[in-house]
């Protein structure tokens, strides 16, 4: 994918696969492809970080290899592991047959279980896979150091077998929710982009693409109301994912427009904290809808 020519081409290709990226994100992706560097994406939950990797896989035709990080993740779960039960069976069989037990045979490819990182590095296809390292901030420092090593030379050594090296490096997307700082060394290795909430027009465009069953008028109302909610100083301002959920929830209830009663019953799809719901109510649900009128007139 190093043959993309410019930022616009990236934006158009992503749009063709239903992902509307703004200038910043499109540039970040373009540079990640062009310079063959991992892309570190940070942002609030629900702004579409993980989606970036998925759409890249759809666009490039590469396999999506996902590594979900969690506290305590280690090489056995992320890189490779031996298939112990089969090894034991093999040993017993060799013993029963009276033959000698050969160590090399026991630690050969046929007993190797490939975990996501090894799969992404030692891929066979012509198209490099898209490696998604999701929520890296949940893993611990030791794992990060390990990840850095792999992302630096795109090679993995299995002591018993030798070194696997990527013919073409995978496209790497690393996401973080920022529960802690990702280590500087890893950040330096990556290109960095912070994904923020979209503005009204972009959110509307995203709704059109991602929730095609939603009528234009309703989409405008929902996008406007979400924008107003984000101004409210909430614990968890709604992300794009919530906006889409909300619009679809309203449609599922058979409504074609957003009114105070509908907002009341569907509020749980956008605001997931009791305190936030109370804050929205005390602000006035009517108020939210009035905010909707503004962008409509502006257009």
């Amino acid at each position: 994918m190093t043959d993309v020519k410019n930022v616009d081409e990236v934006r158009e290709a992503l749009a063709a696969h239903d992902y509307l990226a703004d200038e910043g994100l499109a540039t970040a992706i373009f540079l990640a492809l062009r310079l063959e560097r991992p892309l570190l994406l940070e942002g609030e939950a629900g702004v579409g970080k993980t989606e970036v990797a998925k759409v890249l896989a759809r666009w490039t035709g590469g396999e999506l290899v996902r590594l979900q990080c969690y506290e305590g993740i280690d090489a056995a779960q992320a890189v490779y592991e031996w298939d112990y039960s089969r090894q034991l069976l093999h040993l017993r069989a060799a013993e029963a047959g009276g033959g000698p037990v050969d160590e090399d045979e026991l630690y050969s490819e046929r007993f190797l279980v490939r975990r996501p990182l090894l799969r992404a590095i030692a891929h066979e296809g012509t198209q490099p896979p898209v490696l998604l390292v999701d929520e890296v901030d949940r893993a611990d420092d030791e794992f990060e150091a390990f990840l850095l090593e792999i992302l630096s030379d795109y090679a993995i050594t299995v002591p018993e077998l030798g070194t696997f090296r990527a013919k073409t490096p995978p496209i790497v997307v690393v996401t973080s929710n920022r529960t802690r700082d990702v280590h500087d060394a890893l950040k330096r290795r990556c290109l960095y982009h912070w994904i923020g909430h979209p503005d009204f027009e972009r959110e509307l465009a995203i709704l059109r693409v991602r929730a095609p069953g939603v009528r234009e008028e309703l989409a405008r109302q929902v996008a406007g109301a979400v924008e107003a909610l984000r101004e409210l100083d909430l614990y968890k301002p709604p992300g794009v994912a919530e906006t889409i959920d909300w619009a679809q929830a309203v449609v599922a209830l058979g409504s074609t427009t957003l009114d105070a009663a509908t907002v009341e019953v569907t509020l749980g799809t956008v605001l997931k904290y009791r305190e936030d719901q109370e804050r929205a109510r005390s602000h006035g649900l009517e108020q939210l809808l009035n905010a909707v009128e503004r962008p409509q007139r502006a257009s």
Binding site: G24, T27, A76, E81, N177, R188, L191, Y192, G196, Y235
Partner: protein, 378 residues
């Protein structure tokens, strides 16, 4: 029109030159720009070209920045650099100079020196360290503070242990079978898994989050407590530190320098509201929103160093403490005023926070800080 080889080399040199110059401007503005990033930026410029302002802007942002907080600084530097006026001032230089003064005359001038009366006359010759241990920080002289600093470096803060999902090998025949090692060993016995291996979950210390009040009412203590916080940050990896004043400032990075004076100076440069008022509720709210509830405080030991004097709404403070208590493992509140015999937690902020606190301890002396270290590790 394909560029001639000469021209190409020239453009490349041009990209390098621009990248270096812009990096210098960013550094001047107070951003940390490693050399590696400068090279990446030059490569990025080669990839996007210099024709469109937007492309150049984002190429720089993607390659040179590593936190969204630096965005504003970057914007200003970018405007200044690309639109001609290369004059970029350092905000850190404009901030008020260190109020971390180490002379104790200041405190008396403030006229709130009642708490400082205990101690100094009963200097029976224990070791000097022993006297210092019980002395109120507010009464410290410069030299004593320096000595306390040495004592603080010895004070090891370790969070309470919790089970980790990581497993470690054990020699005992209990826990979960460790197949990897069992297979290895069975090679020795001709393929028969006679010698079996086991693993048990390992234990990790919990993260410690320190929130240090730097308002005027805490001034006498915050200089000593910050030393303590700094020693804690340097001593161990899983400690986070914040300064709490009229706003919240993360100072982990600044304090992680080995040299305490440099670390405190860096932190002071970062904290803009030194010795101002406190809005504890708002500060905690910001902490919860941006860091704590998202994960930093989850399962952590949170230590608040504050006297509980709050200019904000106590209701907000109560609400935020409740939120914090729902995610944290323990909340320890360290209040230097608690050492005074007649102290009762009447400050409105303190009263609002109290129901959500697991441990309420004094933090006015070395001995009290030792107690804190014990509380944290339990």
């Amino acid at each position: 029109m394909p560029p001639e080889p000469d021209l190409e080399a020239e453009t490349e040199a041009e990209h390098d030159r621009i990248s270096l110059a812009f990096a210098r401007v960013l550094r001047g503005a107070g951003l940390d720009v490693p050399v590696g990033s400068t090279i990446t930026f030059a490569e990025a410029l080669a990839a996007v070209g210099l024709d469109r302002r937007d492309d150049v802007y984002w190429a720089g942002r993607v390659t040179l920045l590593r936190t969204p907080e630096d965005g504003d600084l970057y914007d200003r530097a970018f405007d200044a650099f690309w639109d001609g006026q290369v004059e970029v001032t350092t905000p850190a230089a404009a901030s008020p100079p260190l109020t971390l003064a180490f002379d104790s005359e200041r405190d008396e001038a403030d006229g709130e020196g009642d708490v400082t009366e205990s101690g100094p006359t009963m200097q029976v010759r224990y070791s000097r360290a022993e006297v210092l241990r019980h002395r109120d920080f507010a009464a410290y002289t410069h030299a004593e503070l320096a000595e306390a600093r040495r004592l603080m470096t010895d004070l090891r803060l370790a969070g309470a242990l919790r089970r980790s999902r990581r497993r470690r090998p054990t020699n005992r025949e209990r826990g979960r079978p460790d197949l990897r090692r069992t297979v290895r060993r069975s090679l020795r016995s001709g393929g028969e898994p006679i010698d079996r291996a086991f693993s048990t979950p390992s234990r990790r210390p919990r993260r410690i989050v320190l929130l240090c009040d730097v308002s005027g009412s805490m001034e006498a203590y915050s200089r000593a407590l910050l030393r303590f916080v700094q020693a804690a940050v340097v001593g161990r990896g899983r400690v986070e530190a914040f300064a709490l004043g009229t706003r919240l400032t993360r100072i982990t990075r600044e304090l992680s320098s080995r040299d305490p004076d440099a670390a405190l100076a860096a932190a002071a440069g970062r904290v803009l509201d030194w010795s101002g008022g406190t809005r504890l509720g708002d500060g905690l709210r910001e902490f919860n929103d941006r860091w704590g509830v998202r994960g930093m405080a989850r399962g952590a030991v949170v230590v608040v160093l504050s006297d509980g004097w709050d200019r904000g709404d106590p209701e907000v403070l109560g609400e935020e403490m409740e939120r914090l208590a729902r995610v944290a493992h323990r909340i320890v509140w360290v209040n230097p005023l608690k050492a005074t015999p007649e102290y009762a937690p009447l400050a409105r902020g303190m009263a609002a926070a109290l129901p959500h606190i697991d441990d309420f301890i004094a933090g006015h002396s070395m001995a009290a800080l030792e107690e804190l270290a014990t509380v944290i590790s339990k």
